[in-house]
Subunit: 340 residues, 2 copies
DNA sequence: GAACGTCGTCGAACCGGTTCGAAACGACGC
DNA sequence: GCGTCGTTTCGAACCGGTTCGACGACGTTC
């Protein structure tokens, strides 16, 4: 494999001159620059990434930590990963991926050994045990998900409070007076999935403010339990006319459940979920939903991370905490309640 | 950040001695070894990955190329990625992920700049344009998917011929005489997805040999087209009693279609698919299926790749081409045809 | 007591880049 | 003819590890 020494020899210059000719960091005569570039082409030279990283202490790699925890709906996670990965590439960075269950271990390895210039954490819990490590690390970090303590990192998340309010408001306006909200399983919440609380509490408050009833329940995240749970739920609340779903597995299982009960949306029941458009297409879900925008969040996280890495924003400048406003995508699954 | 020089100074030895004390590649007195280890702990020393890669020309990183092409069913791809990633970690390797549409570009970058010790290619087409680049690369490569030319790389794939035969045999034995096979969209085949052909041709041959009818059709891979296509298919072949599905999107859409037609499996129609158990759970598919074993294939690819990387198998020893035998997972969706 | 082997350690070189300071060179003004 | 300046190039040092050859100390052996 050709090194810059080979290039220099072929071009008849010193190694440093070859380096400058390629980087353009010093003035180089047109003649020499051409000779160096020709030599590069002739030898098929590509700089050695390790050597460059050593010399510049820049790896041009971003670490991506994605934990696939129990009851995490994998296809949903994938979309965040793709948003991160594709954006990183556009900005000239590669992705070092860890899917290790022990995220702390992976994080330490990546940061301590200087394999990456920055870190993106997916699926961040309220009291995420990876955060103290990330804060101590010399590399900047960006999160998708809202922890209790946002200091020292860039944070991006959907505005789940607004999402909860929007869902309730939307159905109330259509005339619904009794709603059911299906959240993620309780142990996802206990693990620190605070976004579940945020949406649920905002929805409850909004319902109270509007004087309507909202039954909030945790649904399982696995088949076939979730199907049974949905049946039980609809049995338990026969007067509910609106269904809110903040649980990917439940959303995916809903078409079958409604078919089994001979119900159609919106004629018999208005349904609104919270998942991405891509998710809706993959699972052919016909329900209106709050767009969770995973690709957009991943993209924003990487963008801001790279700005930090490249020093376009100073180390003392405040960190970003940004909430994406939820948009309701109308797929026609909501309407006036049947009784009206 | 502490370097090995710092460790050496604290321990009162030379850098080389510190290195040997840690690697164990030369005899070191118990006293010195302890002092070095203490210094490591005290300073929180972790070797710099770039420096080590430069010195040893080993990065302990494996490149993973996953292209998310049009009509590729993303959740299915994710399972291969996880198999690769998790196995790599178990063997001490990290994953450099590329999801770039232009796989050749990503491959060249990874290999030329020596960022990785080996490469795993997912979703390999019959005449995959990444293969010539991989063969020329100094790093070994492993594929998931069967190309026309297997030379110079390790190849792992499901035995799609046997899968096709098994599906037909299974339904024939139960008494079915007219079957329909839904394959991937035609342009996936044209792009080089030869596995579609392999399964289809073997199924057709097996049906012929058994004197039964098999209608093979290409199905779309997107919603809502695939649902309509399934309806059209069932309309067109009212006498078919068995349905074979080699198309993830069609499999995912089938429960709804059957509900809409008021059909249940196996009472009205026997159904057998080709997808992984994980996929079946994610989409709550109740159909018996040929297990496509993505995690196992990813695992095997990485295992063999690492054996090559670490020289446990010599450069002149022949490369592996291994087909995983398909297993039929019985989920009770097949039985004797209704007419019997 | 000289020759020899073993063990533990050190210094130096190397991996392949980048970058700083200085030197060589021609042009210019005086 | 000499000093000065700007442009272009070079040599050396450095990033942080690993590894080879050598060397000193010590214990055996004849």
């Amino acid at each position: 494999m050709a090194t810059i020494g080979d290039v220099a020899r072929v071009a008849g210059v010193s190694r440093s001159t070859a380096s400058y000719a390629l980087s353009g960091k010093r003035a180089i005569s047109e003649d020499v620059r051409r000779r160096v570039k020709d030599a590069v082409r002739e030898l098929g030279y590509t700089p050695n990434a390790g050597a460059r990283a050593l010399a510049t202490s820049q790896t041009m790699v971003i670490g991506l930590l994605a934990q696939f925890l129990e009851d995490e709906f994998a296809p949903a996670m994938l979309q965040y990963m793709l948003g991160v990965s594709n954006t990183a590439r556009e900005l000239g960075y590669d992705i070092l991926l860890s899917t290790e269950a022990d995220g702390r271990n992976a994080l330490r390895r990546m940061t301590d050994s200087r394999m990456v210039d920055g870190i993106v954490l997916l699926n961040v819990a309220e009291d995420d045990d990876r955060l103290p490590i990330l804060r101590d690390a010399p590399q900047p970090g960006a999160l998708v998900g809202l922890p209790a303590d946002c200091s020292g990192v860039e944070v991006f998340d959907l505005d789940f409070e607004e999402a909860g309010r929007t869902m309730v408001e939307h159905l109330h306006r259509l005339g619904h007076r009794e709603l059911v909200l299906v959240s993620q399983p309780e142990h996802v919440v206990e693990r620190g999935g605070a976004y579940v609380w945020r949406l649920q509490n905002a929805a409850l408050a909004e319902a109270r403010a509007r004087g309507i009833t909202l039954h909030a329940v945790f649904g399982p995240a696995q088949q076939p339990e979730v199907g049974r749970a949905l049946h039980g739920l609809l049995d338990a609340h026969p007067d509910a006319t609106g269904l809110l779903i903040n649980n990917e597995a439940a959303a995916a299982a809903l078409p079958t459940v409604l078919h089994e009960r001979r119900l159609t949306a919106p004629a018999d029941l208005s349904v609104v979920g919270r998942y991405s458009d891509e998710f809706a297409r993959t699972f052919s879900l016909p329900y209106s939903s709050i767009e969770s925008a995973p690709d957009r969040l991943g993209r924003m996280a990487v963008r801001e991370l790279v700005r930090r890495i490249e020093g376009q924003v100073g180390p003392d400048e405040p960190h970003v905490v940004r909430f994406v406003s939820p948009e309701l995508v109308d797929r026609g699954s909501t309407g006036a309640p049947r009784g009206d």
